[in-house]
Amino acid sequence: MPHASENTLTRLYENMVTARYYEERLQEEYLEGKQPAFDISAGPIPGELHLAAGHEAAGAGVCDHLRDDDIVTATHRPHHIAIAKGVDLKRMTAEIFGRETGLGKGKGGHMHLFDPDVNFACSGIIAEGCPPAVGGALAAQKRNTDSVAVSYLGEGAIDQGAFLESLNFASVFDLPVVFVIEDNDWAISMPKERVTDVENGAKRADGFEMPGVRVDSDDVLDVYDAAGEAIGRARDRNGPTVIEVQVHRRMGHFMGDPETYRPEADQEAAAERDSIVRLESDLREAGVEDDRIDEIRDDAHSRVDEAIEWAKDQPLPEPGAAHEDLFVSPASGVTDSEPDFEAVGGEE
């Protein structure tokens, strides 16, 4: 029996179908104008695009336990986590389309989304979100609040110094942070077994005297339970945890990735294991009617469609805006003149 209440189940479901449909719609929009010969510079969405279809359980199952004041740092594949954390969907979409009203006024892009209202950030550099999450946890500890931080990373990132240093730092100072490893088996073209010494990334925790938990399927309810315990520990000031979640990469590393290196059987297996389908049967088992399930899904789709249409209507930034926003204070700092020491009795 699932531990989550029916309300929780429907919330998780709403979240996951939003995230899945969001990626499907972005895929369509992104590929428009890039066909038949894929040209990364063409089409309505600029740049690279890393979609997270198949990762939804790791976003929803963890972030459902979080409040707006909790901090999340995500990866280069951030949309499902941003959606789960409650990032403004319209402004996020506008950012992905490079529009003026986007979260970063079109300066950041899809790998660099910042929504301070819900304390969400992400970075395009592997594992580099770990130290800032640790810093968020440090701030919570110093200010004696009960907020926590969650840092997401991929299984390929567990071999980075930034992650390992963060584990030690978090452990030494008993910080309220949870590291969530999304294991989709592939670091672009490199299968986990070829480049990483452990099959279970949560074992990294062993060397740093903290719990490490692996959720071996992407059953969102298992993720939800493991995350609930870890986040509870953090909130109760009992220190950090590592959680690894088995997820699946359903859309390649980036849009346009030919995935010629990946056995077809592996792609098919990823397509078959669908955490959303599994959650639907959990919902039915919990007594939720099919009509209600359809309604939740349809509402989620409408919200996504609306965000995308809104974003596409937004203006592109003026070129001159490229020169703004480097600093928030004046370049001179908080002052533009030195104190006049003569006035207080300096040298005659």
Binding site: P46, G106, G124, I125, G161, T196, A322
Partner: protein
């Protein structure tokens, strides 16, 4: 380039790979480490086909641990091998900067020349495809600043091969910075220009020898990488406006061929330096300073065309605003007249 040699037209990536393959066949000490360099063949085609010929032992997919594998390249080089390590994007340098800045670059000097580090670090550089602030930089100035690294930047297939042969054979650490837009990758169309005839045979292009890509009388345009092609395009436009521009392709930043630049400026009197890196404390300032030191009297006007001092933005109109375009070069050259 000798006309007698047998040549074929190659993309820049094929030319780069052909030099690596040649050196690997000749020398068992040469091997390649990087992310997605084996089965994928390099995200930017930098190792296409090499794993098929040389196997996983010599074309090594490595953990995403740049500190470890770039540092391992330093160590293997010091132990007498000739490793090539690849930074998938130069922007990822930050996670391994100690190995690059404090080990790779300094060990020879600190040992009084008793230790050599015969390695190559390859890195994809550059923007123009909206990959934003953490995946679009060139960082030429960042690396050229630290003493102890030789730095090459090919602009065509011909240069890509000749510079790679020299980089692998050289007994010092060489940073080989290839521009993504020039490689001829299917999904990122290259401009006309980088695809050139390339001799079948191996040949080495010396570091520190710039190439005058176009002769001119009125203004000297000094640049590198992608912007060689933008400068050549600008020179065409300038010619139709009656301005004769000389275009110099630096080809290497360390050593820097000051002599060729100075000779040109002594002829034209005007200098435009074009760089895809940030404006301040970089290539444009350095080239200008060298000319000022050597030939101040000859210098009438100077223009710097570079990325204003902001990170590379994502949205297309913003990126276009900050990365120098052909028109920016035309305008700068025109202002010198």
């Amino acid at each position: 380039m000798s006309g007698a040699e047998s040549t074929r037209e190659l993309t820049m990536s094929r030319a780069m790979v052909s030099a690596i393959a040649h050196e690997m066949r000749e020398n068992d000490d040469v091997f390649y480490m990087g992310e997605d360099v084996a089965d994928y063949g390099g995200i930017f085609d930098s190792t296409q086909g090499l794993r098929e010929e040389f196997g996983y032992d010599r074309i090594m997919d490595v953990p995403i641990s740049e500190t470890a594998y770039i540092g391992a390249a330093v160590g293997a080089a010091q132990a007498g091998m000739r490793p090539i390590a690849e930074l998938m994007f130069v922007d990822f340098f930050g996670v391994a900067m100690d190995q690059i800045y404090n080990q790779m670059a300094k060990n020879t000097y600190m040992s009084g020349g008793n230790v050599s580090v015969p390695m190559v670090l390859t890195a994809a550089v550059g923007g123009t495809y909206n990959d934003a602030a953490q995946h679009s930089q060139t960082l030429y100035g960042t690396f050229a600043h630290i003493p102890g690294l030789k730095i090459v930047v090919p602009s065509t297939a011909y240069e890509a091969k000749g510079l790679m042969h020299n980089a692998i054979r050289d007994d010092d650490p060489v940073l080989y910075m290839f521009h993504k837009r020039l490689m001829g990758i299917g999904w990122m169309p290259a401009p006309d220009g980088p695809k050139t005839p390339v001799p079948e045979t191996d040949y080495t292009i010396p570091f520190g020898r710039a190439d005058v890509k176009r002769d001119g009388e009125d203004v000297t345009i000094v640049t590198l990488g992608l912007h060689v092609h933008r400068a050549l395009e600008a020179a065409e436009t300038l010619a139709s406006d009656g301005i004769s521009a000389e275009v110099i392709d630096l080809r290497s930043l360390v050593p820097l061929d000051t002599e060729t630049i100075v000779e040109s400026v002594e002829k034209t009197g005007n200098l435009v330096v074009v760089d895809e890196d940030y404006r301040s404390y970089g290539v444009t300032g350095e080239v200008t300073a060298r000319v000022a030191e050597e030939a101040l009297d000859a210098l009438e006007r100077v223009e710097r065309v570079a990325v204003p001092d902001v990170p590379i933005p994502y949205s297309r109109p913003l990126e276009k605003e900050v990365i120098p375009g052909t028109e920016d070069i035309v305008n700068a050259a025109t202002r010198t007249q």
